[in-house]
């Protein structure tokens, strides 16, 4: 059990390791009073065990988040090497791991959003299956609920399930302190109409075996302007001047012109650990959110609103080597609130179940498991049955996965890890095999090399698979259809990676990873067919697989300097290049000109290019100065 825990352990920010090394020396010089104020939990995370982590990964703790002054979970991820964090409007972000974003380039804005990373809260996927990715503002928890964030870089479907293609982010929530009653609060007011509130109450009962925590969070932000760019006018206009793209009518299409983000959530967490072999926990919560950003454009404006309400329940149990988790989420989404009011509303039900078991066979530890995920989306309650929705139906995506993870340590310095997983999807109805083969070799206590060969795949989305939307009545022109495909092959990434982690001296620690990935089966949404019916030509936009291959080669390094226990400096950067093979570039655009009877497909030219949308270099520099325990000065600059 212990070994397999370490096996899948996420390593910690390399900088922290240096800090630990240095602290060990300095601790003897600290006064007893200072010693009593050291938090062992966070300090312990900066220990040798994290140093031996087999994966390219980083943990950001609540203390680091607090020291950095981050106001959102997405901002806190800027402390993690290898991340591209783009702020789209005030407080709204698109988060990528290592890039591979905006594929294929030149397509719709929503293709620039990351759909290939898996985000979880306490192991529960919080994935948007409408068009993929994560709607960060719709997470039910606030920053005040976060104990730590674990980030794994690189294809990790075999370990974490579908969609962990470029990596996985797991947000671990806090448990109540070991006190009969505890309360925490954080209120922030700022410019741009920013106000943020996190409150929680905790209670530990029965000798701290039973822990209960309830929390609430609130966040409001303004855009800083009330106008929108209008494709229709070619200029900035107020929202009431821009037509709804489905009806052509002007009106109250942007009802919250000044807001960029509004969200609120409430959660309850209960855990019960009667003994070392049994640990049960349950969490449940509700949330409501609105975000106004460049998430999904229409032919009227690049800006749109999206709103969500949802509730969830998540139950977990670790019982004598068995780990089980079951979750349910019910949501309402309007992904184009205001601007495409008749088309974009959905109800969803998402269910997940996971069961794993530890089998310790001496030198080898096995962890077999089974996983089921189901996402049901319907727009039938919102006029979908009358051909006005994107789906006009209730559609279900599901997959069942079987996996086996093995950890083998033939001798002290060498560890071999293999994880293999097969998922059977209902859409497309086929099987996908994913794997991760990992080896680590410790030359000495201070120097470790690691190598990973892995393959992962994304899951499917309802829009890509089941879009069935028509623009026009089918009689008058233009008549345009937007059609999904149930047979789209799922995007797949393979990776080979080598890494080195070393304590160079007691002040300096280095972590380097060099990776090469190849991504294929990407999809696009293009005008691809001109059909003919009784009333003339009509245009079909179809979701389709591409011959495009994206090959990324890069390196991420993280350097940590801790000249004393009071000062910590960290620099991290990723240098990468992504080459695209078989990129179909539009040379001329689609022409829809019903007044002149012109309907033309775009002209395409196939080419190999260097992908420009992921920066060649991105990273950050941070510094912490903590002269006394209760004061910390943070300075940081991140470029993404």
């Amino acid at each position: 059990m212990k070994r397999i825990i370490v096996l899948f352990a996420v390593c910690l920010a390399v900088g922290q390791i240096t800090m630990a090394q240095d602290i060990e020396e300095d601790l003897f010089d600290l006064s007893l009073e200072e010693l009593m104020n050291i938090e062992i939990v966070s300090a312990s995370k900066k220990s040798e065990s994290s140093f031996k982590s087999p994966l390219s990964s980083t943990v950001v703790t609540k203390d680091e988040i607090m020291a950095s002054g981050a106001t959102t979970i997405e901002e806190a991820l800027r402390l993690v090497p290898g991340m591209v964090i783009r702020e789209e409007t005030n407080g709204n972000y698109d988060v990528h791991i290592r890039g591979n974003d905006n594929l294929p380039p030149g397509n719709y804005v929503f293709y620039s959003e990351n759909t290939m990373s898996l985000v979880m809260i306490d192991g529960r996927p919080v994935y948007n299956y409408i068009n993929g990715g994560t709607l960060w503002e719709s997470l039910p928890i606030g920053l005040g609920d976060v104990e730590r964030i674990e980030v794994v870089r690189g294809p990790s479907t075999a370990l974490y399930g579908p969609n962990a293609v470029t990596g996985a982010i797991n947000i671990i929530t806090k448990t109540a302190a070991d006190k009969s009653i505890s309360a925490n609060g954080n209120a922030q007011l700022g410019t741009m109409g920013t106000n943020i509130l996190d409150l929680s109450l905790g209670s530990s009962l029965m000798d701290d075996k039973l822990k209960i925590r309830v929390s609430g969070n609130l966040e409001n932000r303004d855009r800083g302007q009330e106008t929108y760019y209008s494709f229709y006018h070619g200029d900035y206009k107020t929202g009431d001047q821009i037509p709804d793209y489905t009806t052509g009518l002007v009106g109250n299409n942007f009802p919250n012109p000044s807001k960029s983000k509004e969200r609120k959530g409430a959660n309850a967490f209960i855990s019960y650990q009667p003994n070392d072999n049994v640990n049960l926990s349950m969490s449940s919560g509700v949330q409501e959110s609105l975000a106004q950003s460049v998430f999904m454009e229409t032919n009227m404006s690049p800006m749109s609103n999206r709103s969500t309400t949802s509730k969830y329940v998540d139950v977990k149990g670790d019982i004598y080597g068995f780990s089980a988790q079951i979750s349910h989420n019910t949501s309402y989404y309007n992904i184009l609130a205001g601007t495409g009011s008749q088309t974009s509303k959905f109800d969803s039900d998402i269910n997940t179940a996971n069961l794993e078991y530890d089998l310790n066979l001496g030198k080898i530890t096995l962890r077999p498991g089974i996983n089921y995920q189901q996402a049901v989306y319907s727009d039938l309650s919102y006029g979908g049955g009358e051909s006005r929705g994107y789906l006009n139906a209730e559609q279900t995506l599901s997959n069942i996965g079987y996996f086996l993870r093995a950890d083998y340590k033939p001798f002290e310095k060498l560890r071999l890890i293999a994880a293999i997983r097969n998922d059977h999807y209902n859409t497309p109805e086929s099987d996908y095999l994913s794997y991760q083969f990992i080896s680590t070799y410790n030359f000495t206590e201070s120097h470790m090399v690691r190598a990973v060969y892995s393959k992962a795949n994304r899951g499917s989305f309802v829009i890509d698979s089941y879009a069935n939307y028509s623009y026009g009545d089918g009689i008058t022109r233009p008549f345009i259809q937007y059609l999904g495909s149930e047979n789209l092959e799922l995007p797949v990434m393979t990776m080979i990676e080598v890494g080195y982690r070393g304590v160079l001296n007691k002040l300096l620690t280095l972590d380097v990873e060099i990776f090469h990935t190849e991504t294929s089966n990407l999809t696009s949404f293009e005008p691809t067919f001109l059909g003919v019916d009784n009333f003339g030509l009509h245009l079909i936009y179809a979701y389709d697989n591409l011959d495009l291959k994206a090959r990324q080669t890069g390196t991420t390094f993280s350097l940590n300097l801790a000249p004393s226990s009071k000062v910590q400096l960290k620099a991290y950067a990723t240098i990468q290049q992504t080459k695209l093979q078989n990129y179909d570039k539009e040379i001329t655009p689609v022409i829809i000109d019903p007044a002149n009877g012109i309907l033309e497909l775009p002209q395409i030219e196939r080419m190999d290019v260097v992908h420009k949308q992921t920066p060649s270099v991105f990273g950050g520099i941070t510094g912490n100065f903590r002269p006394v325990d209760k004061f910390n000065l943070f300075a940081g600059d991140c470029t993404t």
């Binding site: 352990a9 003897f28 007893l32 010693l35 050291i38 062992i40 312990s44 065990s49 192991g123």
Partner: protein
């Protein structure tokens, strides 16, 4: 992912021993032993198996207490306990606290334990964890019964029981 959440707990314990060893070193500065024990080596005994022994051994190689070299002694059984300034009782031996008391009664030994409740059952100092920080309980009566004296600067930082 459940696994990941357990990692920190696992790691925390490994690191805890290091802090305990540093605190034990600090205690030696704030406790006064009888003059008869102020020469020779400063002996720290460890009863039972604990990772702290390695941490203490590492520390002993570079530190001194009042000019005395530090010697770490391992006691596999209660019957082996003899001649130490500080005795650390591993968690696995904690249940035998009454037996340990009987064996060391009257000896000038600072008895250090790491299990809830032991400061009330004979230990001089007992490590506890409060809000993720290591604290220690101090039972002054148990200290004085063994002819030791504790500086007020130590007792002011302790949870007195």
């Amino acid at each position: 992912m459940l696994l990941l959440t357990m990692v920190s707990i696992q790691v925390a314990w490994a690191q805890k021993e290091k802090y305990h060893s540093i605190l034990i070193y600090n205690f030696s500065k704030y406790v006064k032993w009888p003059d008869a024990q102020s020469s020779g080596n400063f002996v720290i005994g460890v009863l039972g198996n604990s990772k702290i022994e390695k941490e203490l051994t590492d520390m002993a190689s570079s530190k001194q207490v009042n000019g005395m070299s530090i010697e770490i002694k391992h006691f596999a059984a209660i019957s082996q306990i003899s001649g130490c300034h500080i005795l650390y009782v591993s968690q696995e031996e904690s249940a035998k606290i009454d037996e340990i008391q009987a064996r060391t009664k009257g000896q000038a030994i600072l008895l250090v334990t790491d299990k809830p409740g032991l400061a009330k059952r004979g230990a001089a100092i007992n490590f506890v964890e409060v809000d993720g920080k290591i604290k220690f309980e101090l039972n002054q009566q148990n200290v004085e019964n063994r002819g030791l004296k504790v500086a007020s600067s130590l007792s002011s930082l302790a949870i007195l029981v």
